[in-house]
C-alpha cells in the first residue's frame, strides 16, 4: 500500500526487538470480544490512485460548478477570482503539512504569517487587534456574543434582523447553554437596515447588539449612532462582516466604533468549497484582548536579540485553563488564513479598492438591468455587491426553474426563511468581478421568460 513504508521484513525485525511474536500480541489489552478478526466485512479493499480518481471524479461530475454557468449566489459565501499563486503557496509542504506552532524556533514561517494576517484583518475590520482565525464566521459570531456576556456581565443580546439566519440559528443553539437571552427578528423585504429599531431596544440589561454589515439582504448603514447608543448603555456593538471585499469600498465597523468585529474571510483566497473549510475573523478593541477566544500570535525576541514570533496569551485557552477557558476552541483555520493573507498581499490596498469598485459598480449595473424585467423591483437603494429583488411571485420555485435552465440565480429568501410569507418573493443576487455582462443578460432574459 503506497502510503505504508514498512515491509514484512521490517515488521519481523521490529517485532523481534520488541519481543513480541505477532502484531496482534501488541493489542493484548483489547478485550477479546472487541477484537475484529480481519478487515471489516462489506467494505471495499484498498484501491489505486486511478481507481479512486475515477470514483471521486464521477461524484464531482454530478455537481454544477459555479464557474460553469451564470452564477449569482451570495448570502455568506462569495465567488471571487483567486490568483493562481495562492493555491501554490498553500500547497507548499512546509505550510500544508506543518503543525500548530508550539515550537516557535522551527515554526517562524507559520507564526509570521499569523502575525501578518492578524495585522491585515485588524486593519481591514478597523479594530485594534485581531486573532489568528476561528473556524468560520458563524462560530466567531456566537463566540463574540459570549465574550460580550463575560465583559458586561449581562445576558441580553439583541440580534439584528439582518444577521444571516444560519448565524442566528447557531447563536440560538449556543444560547441554550450559555444562558444568553436573544432578541431576534426576521428581516422585512424593504430597504430598512433597522438602526432606529435596534437603538430603541437597548437598555441597561443589554450585553450587546449584533449587526451584519452588509446584511443578509445586502443593505448597508452607518453604525455610528448605534455604537453610541450601545456605549451610552454600557453595552457592546458587535458587527459581523460576511463579505470582507466590501471593506475595500465602505467604512469599517471598527471606524464606526464597534467593539468587536467578526466575520467570514472566505471571499478572499478560500473559494466556495461547498461551505467549508472557511476562516473566521475576530477583531476587537485593545482593552478586551484578554477576553478574546482563539489563538494569538505575538512579537518578541530570541536569545540572540532577533525579532521572532510566538503564540501568546495562551492562558485564555482550553489546554491551560481547562474548564475556565474563554472557549473550548483548540484549533483555528491557519491554512485558510494563509490563503486569505496571500490574496490580500497580492491585491494590496490599491488592488482591493479597485476590486471593490468593480464589484460594486458591476452590481449596480446588474441591479439596473434586472429592474427592467417586468414585475421585478430592486428593493435595495444602498448596497455593496449584493442586493435584493422583489419578484411578482414566490422566488424559490423560480430559482429551481432557472437552475434547470442552467442559471444559478441567487438565493431565494424562501430558502433562508421558509414559511415566511412576507419574504417569499425575495431573491438575493450577488455580483462580483467574476460576473460578466453576458451572465447578467442571461439572467435577465431567463427571469423575464420565467415570470411571463
Amino acid at each position: 500500500m503506497r502510503y505504508l513504508p514498512l515491509t514484512d521484513t521490517d515488521r519481523q525485525a521490529m517485532l523481534a526487538t520488541i519481543g513480541a511474536a505477532t502484531i496482534d500480541d501488541l493489542f493484548v489489552d483489547v478485550p477479546e470480544a472487541a477484537r475484529l478478526s480481519g478487515p471489516i466485512a462489506g467494505l471495499p479493499m484498498h484501491a489505486s490512485e486511478m481507481a479512486v480518481e475515477r470514483h471521486m471524479s464521477a461524484l464531482a461530475a454530478k455537481n454544477v460548478a459555479a464557474g460553469s454557468v451564470p452564477f449569482f449566489l451570495g448570502c455568506g459565501a462569495y465567488k471571487h477570482h483567486v490568483p493562481a499563486s495562492v493555491d501554490h503557496i498553500i500547497q507548499r509542504g512546509e505550510f500544508l503539512t506543518a503543525y500548530t506552532p508550539y515550537q516557535p524556533e522551527i515554526a517562524q514561517g507559520t507564526l509570521q504569517v499569523m502575525f501578518e494576517f492578524q495585522t491585515q484583518v485588524a486593519r481591514l475590520l478597523g479594530t485594534d487587534v485581531a486573532n489568528a482565525s476561528m473556524y468560520d464566521g458563524s462560530t466567531a459570531c456566537w463566540e463574540a456574543i459570549g465574550m460580550a456576556r463575560r465583559i458586561t456581565k449581562r445576558a441580553k443580546a439583541i440580534l439584528s434582523p439582518g444577521l444571516h439566519p444560519h448565524y442566528v440559528s447557531v447563536a440560538k443553539t449556543m444560547a441554550k447553554y450559555t444562558g444568553d437571552a436573544l432578541d431576534t427578528a426576521t428581516p422585512t423585504l424593504d430597504d430598512d437596515f433597522g438602526i432606529d429599531a435596534l437603538i430603541a431596544k437597548i437598555d441597561g440589561e443589554t450585553s450587546c447588539v449584533v449587526v451584519q454589515y452588509p446584511d443578509i439582504l445586502g443593505r448597508i448603514a452607518d453604525l455610528t449612532a448605534l455604537a453610541d447608543a450601545c456605549h451610552a448603555n454600557k453595552a457592546l456593538l458587535i458587527a459581523v462582516v460576511t463579505e470582507p471585499v466590501a471593506l475595500g469600498a465602505i467604512r469599517s465597523p471598527g471606524e464606526m466604533d464597534a467593539d468587536i468585529v467578526v466575520g467570514e474571510g472566505q471571499s478572499l483566497g478560500v473559494g466556495l468549497q461547498f461551505g467549508g473549510p472557511y476562516v473566521g475573523l475576530f477583531g476587537c478593541k485593545d482593552k478586551y484582548v484578554r477576553q478574546m477566544p482563539g489563538r494569538l500570535c505575538g512579537e518578541t525576541v530570541d536569545a540572540e536579540g532577533k525579532r521572532g514570533f510566538v503564540l501568546t496569551l495562551s492562558t485564555r485557552e482550553q489546554h491551560i485553563r481547562r474548564e475556565k477557558a474563554t472557549s473550548n476552541i483548540c484549533t483555528s483555520s491557519v491554512l485558510c488564513a494563509l490563503a486569505m493573507s496571500a490574496h490580500m498581499t497580492l491585491l494590496g490596498e490599491a488592488g482591493l479598492r479597485r476590486l471593490a469598485e468593480i464589484n460594486h459598480l458591476g452590481a449596480a449595473a446588474a441591479a439596473d438591468r434586472l429592474a427592467q424585467v417586468p414585475g421585478v423591483e430592486v428593493v435595495s437603494n444602498a448596497f455593496f455587491n449584493e442586493f435584493t429583488l422583489k419578484l411578482p411571485r414566490e422566488a424559490r420555485p423560480v430559482v429551481r426553474a432557472l437552475a434547470d435552465r442552467g442559471i444559478l440565480a441567487g438565493v431565494s429568501l424562501g430558502r433562508l426563511y421558509p414559511g415566511d410569507g412576507d419574504l417569499a418573493n425575495g431573491l438575493v443576487i450577488a455580483v462580483t468581478e467574476t460576473t460578466t455582462q453576458d451572465d447578467v443578460e442571461a439572467l435577465a432574459r431567463a427571469l423575464a421568460e420565467e415570470l411571463a
Partner: protein, 524 residues
C-alpha cells in the same frame, strides 16, 4: 494556590554568543530572513491585474471609505518569494518524522489535494439548489457510511468543524437526550485527570460541573474510583481510548455498562483512533458518542493550525438529537438536506444548528479519498503499523529514558516517557530543544499532566524503519546529553532559524499587530 503539576516553568533564554561571521543581509546561505509585508510592501503596489472599473454611479449610501486601510501589496514574484522564504522556516511532515503524541502527524497524500480541487467540489456554493449538488451530498453520505461502519455506531453528525467542536456536539447531544428524559438535573461530568484540556472546557461550557477521576499507577483510569463515583447526578463520562498515556483502557466496556446502568452516557474522545481503526469498533465498547479528527486519523492536512474537521458518531440513543443540518439518502436514491425547515416531524429533537452551511466539505473529499485509497484492509494495516512503530520506539528507548508504564505491557500508537533521570537542572524542555538541532520536531511535551515532564511520542504508520531508527538514535543521543548535564542543551536549539524565544515578554507586553515604528528623528 494550586501549583501546576506538569513541572514546566518558563525561563528567560540565556543570551548566546554568536561566533559566526556577520553577513550584510543577515542571511545565512539558504536560511533567508524575511521581513514583514508591512516593511516591504506598499499600499500602491498590486500583484493582480484587474479589469477596468465599469461606468456607473456608486450607491454606497454615503459610506464610502475615507481613511486608508493600511494593506501593503507586492507583485506576484515578490509575493511568491515572501511566502516561499517563510515556508522554509517551518518544520513539516514533508520534511521528516513529526512525533507529536496525540496529533497523528501522518503523511498527507497529494491525491487528497487533487480531488479536493476538482471544480465540482471546490467551486460549488453551499446554498445551491440540492439537485445541482448531488455529488457533493454523495461524498458526505459515503464518508458518513464509512465512519459509521468503522466505528460500529448508528449515525454520524458531520457538521462540527474541529475535534473540540465535535466534543461540544457530543456533549450537547447527551444533554439534549437527558433533558428529553426529564433527567436535566444531572449536573456532573466525570473526566480523567489525564484528559486533554478541551474535555473539561467543553463540559463546563455545556453547564456541567467537572469532576476529575484519578489515574491509577498503571497509567489508566482508576476504574474503582470511577465506579464508586457513579450516581444519579452523573450525566456522562468523557474517556479518551486509547488514553493520553498511549494505553488502551481495558475496562472500557465495564465502565460503559456501569455508566449506562446509572442512566448516564459515555463520550469517547477519538483523538487516538489511529491506534485501533479497522481493528476495534468503539461501538462494541459501549460508547454513545465519539468525535473523529479527520485531520488526525484520516490524513487531512494540519495546515499550521487548522482547518480541522470533527464529525461525531452517535449511538441509537443519541441519534435523534444530532445537530442540523445533515444529509439523508431518499428511497429514490437522491440525497436531501435536512435543515431547520425539513427537520419537522422526522427530526424534532435535534439540539439545533452548530455552524453555518454543511461542515468542512473540503476535508470530507480529502478524507474519503484517503479512506478509498486504503480500503478496509489498508486501514487495518494503518493501526497495526502505527502500534508497531510506537512499541518499537518504546522498547528501543526504555533503557535510556524513564518510561513509567513500559513494564505493564505494550503501548498503543504512542510511547510515553518522563523526565525522571535527567540531570539536576535539566528538563523535558531541554530534550525537546536538543531534538530540534537533530532535525526533528520535538514530541509532545508536558502532556498528559499525570506524568512529570511528559514526553509523548507518536510516530504514526507512514514512517519507514530507517526513519524511525534515525529518530531513535537522535532522541537517545539528546537524552544521554540531558542525563549527563550537557550545558549546550540549555541554549539549544543552535541551528534553527531562531533560538529560544522570550515568551514571557510576549505575554507581559503583547504586541499582536504591526505598528509603524516611531523613527528616532521624528520623535525628537
Amino acid at each position: 494556590m494550586t501549583i501546576n503539576a506538569s513541572g514546566w516553568r518558563p525561563e528567560r533564554p540565556e543570551t548566546n554568543a554568536d561566533t559566526a561571521p556577520a553577513t550584510f543581509t543577515g542571511n545565512r546561505a539558504l536560511m533567508l530572513d524575511e521581513p514583514l509585508i508591512f516593511e516591504v510592501g506598499s499600499t500602491e503596489t498590486t500583484g493582480v491585474d484587474l479589469a477596468e472599473v465599469p461606468a456607473g454611479t456608486s450607491r454606497l449610501g454615503g459610506l464610502e471609505r475615507a481613511r486608508a486601510i493600511g494593506l501593503p501589496g507586492l507583485s506576484e514574484p515578490e509575493t511568491m518569494r515572501h511566502y516561499t522564504r517563510l515556508s522554509r522556516q517551518n518544520y513539516a511532515i514533508d520534511l521528516g518524522l513529526f512525533p507529536l503524541g496525540s496529533c497523528t502527524m501522518k503523511h498527507n497524500p497529494r491525491l487528497n489535494e487533487k480531488m479536493a480541487r476538482l471544480p465540482g467540489f471546490a467551486d460549488v456554493h453551499p446554498l445551491q439548489p440540492v439537485d445541482t449538488v448531488q455529488g457533493a451530498f454523495g461524498v458526505i453520505h459515503e464518508l458518513a457510511e464509512w465512519l459509521i461502519t468503522l466505528t460500529g455506531m448508528h449515525s454520524v453528525a458531520m457538521s462540527p468543524k474541529a475535534g473540540a467542536h465535535g466534543e461540544l456536539c457530543g456533549i450537547l447531544a447527551i444533554k439534549a437526550a437527558l433533558d428529553a428524559k426529564g433527567e436535566g438535573a444531572r449536573k456532573v461530568i466525570l473526566v480523567p485527570e489525564s484528559a486533554h484540556g478541551t474535555n473539561p472546557a467543553t463540559a463546563a461550557f455545556a453547564g456541567y460541573a467537572v469532576e476529575n477521576i484519578p489515574a491509577s499507577d498503571a497509567g489508566r483510569i482508576d476504574t474503582d474510583a470511577l465506579l464508586a463515583r457513579l450516581g444519579p447526578d452523573v450525566a456522562a463520562v468523557m474517556i479518551t481510548n486509547p488514553n493520553t498515556c498511549g494505553l488502551f483502557e481495558r475496562d472500557m466496556k465495564t465502565i460503559s455498562d456501569a455508566v449506562h446502568a446509572v442512566g448516564g452516557f459515555v463520550y469517547c474522545d477519538g483523538a487516538n483512533f489511529n491506534a485501533i481503526v479497522g481493528k476495534v469498533r468503539p461501538g462494541d465498547l459501549g460508547i454513545d458518542a465519539m468525535h473523529i479528527n479527520l485531520h488526525k486519523t484520516f490524513s487531512t492536512p494540519h495546515g499550521g493550525g487548522g482547518p480541522g474537521s470533527g464529525p461525531v458518531v452517535l449511538s441509537a440513543a443519541l441519534s435523534p438529537f444530532a445537530p442540523l443540518p445533515f444529509v439523508v439518502k431518499q428511497s429514490d436514491g437522491k440525497f436531501a438536506l435536512i435543515e431547520e425547515e425539513s427537520a419537522g416531524d422526522d427530526h424534532p429533537h435535534s439540539f439545533g444548528r452548530m455552524v453555518a452551511f454543511h461542515g468542512q466539505m473540503g476535508m470530507f473529499t480529502r478524507a474519503l479519498t484517503y479512506i478509498l485509497s486504503h480500503g478496509a484492509d489498508g486501514l487495518r494495516q494503518v493501526a497495526e503499523d502505527a502500534v508497531l512503530n510506537a512499541n518499537y520506539i518504546l522498547r528501543s528507548l526504555e533503557g535510556t529514558l524513564s518510561a513509567p508504564f513500559a513494564a505493564s505491557g505494550p503501548c498503543m500508537h504512542e510511547a510515553l516517557f518522563s523526565d525522571d533521570g535527567l540531570a539536576e537542572g535539566f528538563s523535558t524542555l531541554d530534550v525537546a530543544k536538543g531534538l530540534i538541532d537533530e532535525g526533528f520536531h520535538p514530541m509532545t511535551v508536558y502532556f498528559p499532566l499525570v506524568v512529570h515532564g511528559a514526553m509523548l511520542v507518536e510516530p504514526t504508520e507512514t514512517e519507514s524503519k530507517a526513519g524511525i531508527d534515525q529518530f531513535i538514535g537522535a532522541l537517545r543521543s539528546v537524552a544521554e546529553r540531558a542525563k549527563a548535564g550537557d550545558a549546550s542543551l540549555k541554549t539549544a536549539p543552535h541551528f534553527a532559524p531562531r533560538s529560544r524565544l522570550d515568551e514571557t515578554q510576549a505575554a507581559r507586553k503583547p504586541v499582536l499587530v504591526w505598528r509603524e515604528p516611531v523613527l528616532a528623528a521624528a520623535a525628537e
